[in-house]
Symmetry: C2
């Protein structure tokens, strides 16, 4: 069992690489601090389709095709695709990547889905189950508001703790050939339920899960936060961030110097009126492709713990008065830049 | 790359075993032909809970605990759980297995989810990612009607091609120690869309995907149907079965002698008024635990291709006039009975 490490982690030695990654986002994300780093900015939120759901599907296909192009691969080179989104029955994924005609494993981890997809994809590549696999996720402000909240035309007011669903899609090709960044390990996340019920404060709901997975990772590897260049959560936002830092301090870990949150990176808090920050499966996926991976490839960051976070809820569970449990899937990335 | 076989299959040699499996079903399923083989029959569709969704969650937890008991394991012995259901954002799974406090990878493959969970679980065990993992899925007639169709009190009429969602949950423990049945291989399924739009005839929507995966499996292994004791689809029902057999004949394969369908096994077609047969994530999962696995363990069947099928749709995709694509995930099971 040499692949396992500690209680919840797996180690892949030097075998799994992020061969390429691509991102497509909407207009608002394109106007944000990372705007110029995304591969494509779509001005039309409908992408010329008849519905937001179809638009989201198109974005998945577009991101996947761009990632394939960057890797110099054809769809038939991909052994399997791990994919998911936020919509009921994951329809953005099903209708998005059907055109690639590749084997598919559908996932649901709410906004943590890119962490889940990278984890399962890396597990597959490391085991020799395919020379190349893909991880693809998406979300769309319009489809998510319709799925979880209010009709857009209603113009509901949002509390400052609410997050803003990122319109976009991120896709990664994982494989065996050496690239600028490898997936060195994963730490599988547990569902953590602190009993919170406020779907307009998902950062608070997810922070305990992020704490659980980050703590477990550090314990499994017997490392301190200072041994990481960055520890980057998915979409806790500014409310969830404060809670995470406090929860981790209670466990004896101070990650304030290392911590970033994709949800806080993607929008300009002061000028974009996006509440506590970005969220959605596309948030961590597009920030990973546009910002995190390049820093690793350039060697600016050597070791990054990437921890997409998800709030496990639906309209029905909310209406039935259920809590909002969280989950966080951690992926350990290491730069190979300047290596032999 | 010795684990891969052909275009879409993976081979696990003799390393992955089904250590235990358990099933829980509702009253109707308990009155069906397989009634006495299920581990538990719940007379109360609410299981004493306040909603169908909570009842479904309870069934997942119950099935998982029974499978653990049969294997003589505690939750902490399970390295990771692969789980899914039919509900929006997979809430039956999230709220069902949170109590086990184990790492979770949430899946969505519609009614094919047990095929997906067994596939990913077997991939994990074979690679040494855990000594034991679990695969757990569920569905519930009440929660599925609410999610996809009409309020139960409305008493809508169903066409004969419609299937009946199975109330229940199935759970399997996979591991390295030898048991009566092993998972010898998997064939990953592609999404197949023939352009059908009738959500009341999901068998027809899924049959092309079942054909695609079964054909691919037979080609990858260069085998004929006669080399299998049974080829068992998930929930095509009697309409989908006819289509599958015809589609396979067009590809040069006749599986009529080997073919069974879990949806047609679970209810008594003549006396239970369940339309074309059973469906739902619990259909193939409970039939697997109660019927298929025991036949393998007893050596009555030596080689079975188990092919859960899923119809990838949601209320929203249906209302927006989208098609209903299908997917099928194949798991090759072999008996170890009477071996050395």
């Amino acid at each position: 069992m040499s692949q396992t490490k500690g209680m919840q982690s797996l180690v892949f030695e030097n075998k799994v690489y992020v061969v390429s990654a691509a991102s497509i986002v909407g207009k608002l994300e394109g106007e944000g601090p990372l705007g110029k780093y995304f591969d494509k900015v779509e001005e039309d939120p409908m992408l010329g389709q008849d519905s937001w759901e179809e638009a989201e599907s198109r974005m998945q296909l577009s991101a996947a095709r761009m990632a394939l192009d960057k890797a110099g691969l054809q769809p038939e080179d991909i052994r399997m695709i791990f994919t998911g989104d936020l919509l009921a029955q994951s329809i953005a994924s099903s209708f998005g990547i059907v055109e690639l005609e590749r084997p598919v494993y559908g996932l649901f981890g709410a906004c943590s889905t890119m962490g889940e997809a990278l984890s399962l994809g890396a597990m597959a590549v490391n085991a020799g189950y395919g020379e190349h696999v893909m991880a693809v996720t998406s979300s769309h402000f319009g489809s998510a508001e319709k799925e979880f909240r209010f009709p857009l035309a209603y113009g509901n007011q949002r509390p400052p703790s609410a997050t803003w669903t990122v319109t976009g899609s991120g896709a990664c090709v994982l494989g065996l050939e050496k690239s600028g960044a490898r997936i060195a390990a994963v730490t599988s996340g547990r569902i953590v339920d602190y009993g919170l019920k406020d779907s307009q404060n998902m950062g608070a709901c997810m922070a305990p899960a992020a704490c659980d997975t980050i703590c477990r990772h550090l314990m499994d590897f017997e490392r301190q936060p200072s041994e990481y260049d960055r520890i980057i959560t998915g979409d806790l936002g500014k409310v969830g961030k404060v809670i995470l830092l406090e929860l981790l301090r209670q466990q004896g870990y101070d990650i304030e110097k290392q911590h970033l949150d994709c949800g806080m990176l993607i929008y300009d808090e002061n000028n974009q009126d996006t509440g506590a920050g970005g969220s959605g499966c596309a948030c961590s996926a597009t920030v990973f492709a546009a910002h995190i991976l390049p820093k690793l490839e350039q060697g600016e960051w050597r070791r990054v713990l990437f921890v997409p976070t998800g709030a496990l809820m639906s309209k029905v569970s909310f209406y039935e008065g259920q809590t909002v449990p969280g989950i966080a899937q951690a992926v350990l990335l290491e730069s190979t830049a300047k290596e032999a």
